[in-house]
Symmetry: C3
Subunit: 251 residues, 3 copies
């Protein structure tokens, strides 16, 4: 099984699929081709949240604003999973989630790829196809993998937690407009109301705990504090975008 994640929209993922299926007869599984465009941190967050739900697989993932520069291409063996993508930090949070830090990184060496703007097709897909065909145990022997590279790291930001307040930030806004923060959901335990950037907001278990159009703070499916609007867009109503600061306060 090979999963595909990218910010490519349409129709570029089709060419990656052709290259993969020319090298291996894996089942291909689209995770998303609408990851936030060019946002490596958002991509890293979504990969970390989604890919660990899969059984052992090869995961091809590309959010790559530096395509064609001297940023390297890497493959990661993380437990029973392999990850393939650009060396810009995108794969690091999910690699840690899959392997508790004990992962191995390889540089992908594709000489003279056919293009300098579509490494998804010309570098990452050939590597992912070869890894799937050979099997993870053979990664050390693959000619296009060079072991022992020190990858570019990316840490999702940690919040600051105090006794009666916590300060974090918006990681991503999902397609529903839900505002996903880096604040741990446990902060909301037992609260009926929480102050969000100075304004009181009801705490609810689920969207329908408040009337349509009303705001709520809830624990999202990733375990983080999420700022939502029932039957509406949290990002619009809270006026928050990725990277914005979020301070919660309670009594």
């Amino acid at each position: 099984m090979i999963t595909l994640s990218s910010d490519f929209g349409s129709p570029y993922p089709g060419a990656m699929k052709g290259v993969l299926l020319g090298r291996t007869d894996a089942q291909l599984v689209d995770v998303s081709h609408d990851l936030p465009r060019g946002d490596v941190r958002a991509g890293a967050f979504w990969l970390r949240e989604v890919l660990p739900w899969f059984p052992p697989a090869v995961h091809l993932a590309v959010v790559d604003p530096g395509v064609g520069t001297d940023r390297r291409a890497i493959a990661v063996r993380a437990g029973d999973h392999a990850l393939v993508g650009p060396d810009n930090g995108l794969l690091m949070p999910v690699a840690r989630a899959l392997a508790n830090g004990g992962f191995v990184t390889y540089q992908i060496t594709v000489e003279d790829p056919p293009s300098s703007t579509f490494h998804g097709r010309d570098v990452f897909a050939p590597a992912a196809g070869e890894i799937h065909r050979a099997g993870l145990a053979a990664m050390d022997d693959l000619e296009l993998l060079d072991p022992g590279v020190d990858p570019v790291d990316l840490q999702l930001p940690d919040p600051t937690l105090d006794a009666d307040r916590a300060r974090g930030e918006v990681l991503v806004v999902d397609g529903f407009g839900n505002v996903v923060t880096n604040l741990p959901g446990e902060l909301l335990a037992g609260l009926e109301t929480v102050e969000v950037n100075g304004e009181p907001v009801p705490v609810g278990d689920t969207f329908a705990s408040v009337p349509a159009g009303e705001r709520l703070a809830t624990v999202g499916s990733h375990g983080n504090v999420e700022l939502d609007v029932n039957d509406g867009r949290g990002d619009d109503v809270f006026g928050l975008a990725p990277g914005d600061e979020v301070e919660l306060a309670w009594e």
Copy 2:
């Protein structure tokens, strides 16, 4: 084979796929993840129109504005097909279409799902995966299925038919802007023109039966009367949205 239908957009369907493939090695088939958001009736219409074209399969379908409330989760055995989703009526029209009314409904009992906002991943996907793994004949024996539940019904609205006129409503607008009504296509048989809400509109077999930019009434691929514009958007030109009344008159 497991089909997936939802209003989730991206990237949430990826997590459902991971959960499914962790339980069974089914071929996964995306039907749509862009069903009209939160519109249970529109979702019910599209499922009824699309899923009966499939050979026997397990169908996971989620349009679920009440996620996390006490609305139940259900599985339906309808002929050689199984349906899995929220108990909000979404699955009822397609269940009737697949089984002529002779379907069996089960309540899905997943204790303490990991989230209260993403039952697609935490309740419906595990159930669909188990049903596929065990086979439809074993549904009575699955621990997470409780037979004999009386599901919430949803009836797509019936039109009122008279000798020289018919009154119905808009069910959905498709991505092309075509306005799909609940009026039976047979009403247009033999007509060259039909009055739509008081204005004469040519009746055509296909879009190109009128010049680009012009309106027509036609029989859509679902067999209903559809109000379209050749090379344009019917919803804009007719000024119609889901739920709006449509009266046809003829001589």
Copy 3:
């Protein structure tokens, strides 16, 4: 393996998949369902660029503004590949790319299809499913294929090349806003700057060769000259749309 390409968006491709899987147990691979709507030339370009990356497959492809008129439905055997779609030129450039001109065309004869507006489901999918089931070698024997048809041709436009200038046009704009022309990428070899419609533009190997927000001319992944903006939309900044003329000049 059957690939699917269309301009259908959602949820119509789901019905095509059901019909295909009712006739054959092929792996289905979505190439794109967001091809530029109703733009046969753009669809023909993308199919030619993407499908040749696949191993032998049956390719179902539909961009079909003339659905339901007397335009024919065709299947093409091109090397180890089969193509199925409308006879409006859509399949011709990719057929030539796959078979160097030596392809064979069949008319698809489906009597009284269930609809006149959704031949993707009612004509093309049944034919693609039958061809996959029977195998390419059996195409001559399939009842729904009538050999020897002379298909409608479509030629992507050729540029005019002079010693110090070249005149071409915009073929497509991709989802990133990159402006893809019909001018061969070799024209940029060795240049640091090129005049685009009278204005000097830096030539770069990749997006990041210019600062964010700046314009560049580059060789796209299809080998043609592409007019891009690093971290921005080339179509907006260059003011170019499909069909617009592009003149390059150099010294």
